[in-house]
């Protein structure tokens, strides 16, 4: 801590005086310094060969940053700064884009209507119109054939659309995780209508609690105690109510533990 300047001047001075007088302490310090050297060498030697060259990831980051920056800049354009033919071109392009992404546009218009008044309000239950839940697997055999699949990371561009739809584009996306409403372990799709921003600020009904529900539902489905469509319907309608129902409790089990 002294090396980081975290000790007061008085304590740092006392430490220096003590070390000057204490041979044993200096010996111990040297041993620790050697251990540090050994550890740093080991750390680097073990991990450096695993690092791929940075050029590719750097290029990918630059491309994504350009996309982010241009989307930001486009919001601050002035329509009247453009010449007439450019305005026509932009209008024509806008119409084409609107037609091409009709379904998505409809989804996002719905999102705007449903934005909460205060952006960034923690979302505990997804909005049913924005995130009704979409499944790709419809049979127990499909879901239970293999060990449960991992949730794939949602691409950043899709995450942004989800945040914008929920009206939290001005809040810190780091405070949320874009989660699957119907988990892939229950046959859930990576369609945007199956994705919602789950708040890290939720302290009781949080992601871990939902994970426990997902595990329970999958267990019930795979042992034949529950049919898959019911499990998918219950978790997508209101996962908190489903948790209460399937765990027979009003509060998460972890909250009840001492």
């Amino acid at each position: 801590m002294a090396a980081d300047g975290e000790l007061s001047a008085g304590r740092a001075e006392r430490l220096q005086k003590h070390l000057s007088a204490c041979w044993e302490c200096r010996s111990q310090t040297r041993e620790l310094e050697e251990a540090i050297g050994d550890y740093v060498r080991l750390h680097r030697r073990r991990l450096d060969p695993m690092l791929p060259p940075a050029a590719g990831p750097r290029a990918l980051l630059k491309a994504q940053l350009s996309e982010l920056a241009s989307s930001h800049t486009s919001r601050s354009w002035s329509w009247f700064d453009l010449s007439a033919w450019r305005r026509g071109l932009v209008a024509a392009s806008a119409i084409c884009i609107a037609i091409a992404i009709g379904l998505l546009t409809r989804w996002e218009w719905a999102a705007r209507e449903l934005r909460p008044d205060a952006p960034g309000v923690p979302v505990a239950i997804p909005n049913a119109r924005l995130t009704p839940g979409v499944a790709v697997a419809t049979s127990r055999e499909e879901v239970c054939r293999e060990s449960p699949p991992k949730n794939k990371m949602v691409p950043v561009s899709v995450q942004r659309r989800v945040f914008q739809a929920y009206g939290i584009d001005s809040a810190d996306p780091g405070a949320y995780e874009v989660d699957y409403l119907i988990t892939p372990a229950l046959g859930g799709s990576d369609d945007i209508r199956n994705l919602w921003p789950q708040s890290y600020a939720a302290t009781i009904w949080n992601a871990r609690v939902k994970d426990a529900l997902e595990d329970r539902l999958r267990q019930l489905v795979c042992t034949g105690a529950l049919d898959l469509p019911t499990a998918q319907r219950d978790i997508s309608r209101n996962w908190i109510a489903a948790y209460r129902n399937y765990f027979h409790t009003d509060r998460p089990i972890s909250e009840l533990s001492p």
């Binding site: 090396a3 050994d38 550890y39 080991l42 991990l47 791929p52 990831p57 750097r58 982010l68």
Partner: protein, 194 residues
């Protein structure tokens, strides 16, 4: 009597100061974030690998962390200690990824996996090389036996983070960082003596 300067028990490479105390080199935000990526990508990825994240997940999390940094700066948020900020974001994303993967990652630091080839010192003398490799295997075994939080502290410190940055990254107190680092280094030092 030696004039050796006083050292704290743990004095891994001192961190560079990034962010508040140094104006950005680049004129645009994109360039600034790309510059930071150039400075921190290897350190960040090495840390993520050291806590057992698979390489592909690590690369994705690094990308996501830097995109979050861009958005953070674009909104005019605090520039205080950007390095600590990005390590904290990446660490939290890694924990989340681990939870999604069922609570465990395969550690790349398993002694069995850490073969002699990987640990071998490129010394020309075969005997020296073997001795060095054995020492490192022992060190690796001791390292692996340490609690996870101790290993995280060591890895972060080896990547140049200050005590305060480590505390913020892991969400623990400054005193706890000092205690964990001192304890784990004492164990490594005892292993080196054997």
């Amino acid at each position: 009597m030696s004039d050796q300067p006083p050292e704290s028990a743990v004095s891994l490479p001192l961190p560079e100061r990034i962010g508040a105390s140094r104006p950005p080199k680049s004129s645009t935000l994109e360039e600034e974030v790309t510059d930071l990526f150039g400075q921190l990508r290897d350190r960040l990825l090495r840390y993520l690998l050291s806590i057992g994240l698979p390489l592909q997940d690590g690369e994705e999390i690094v990308q996501e962390a830097f995109l979050s940094l861009f958005l953070h700066l674009q909104r005019g948020r605090s520039r205080h200690n950007l390095r600590g900020w990005i390590f904290r974001v990446a660490h939290n994303l890694a924990l989340k990824r681990r939870t999604q993967a069922g609570g465990s990652f395969r550690s790349p630091a398993d002694p069995a996996e850490a073969s002699g080839d990987l640990l071998a010192d490129p010394a020309p003398n075969a005997e020296d090389q073997m001795a060095s490799s054995q020492e490192q295997r022992l060190l690796m075994a001791v390292l692996q036996a340490q609690p996870e939080q101790d290993r995280r502290c060591l890895a972060l410190r080896a990547e140049g983070l200050s005590y305060r940055e480590i505390a913020e990254t892991l969400g623990i107190s400054l005193g706890a960082v000092s205690h964990l680092l001192t304890r784990s280094l004492a164990r490594l030092a005892r292993a080196s003596e054997r």
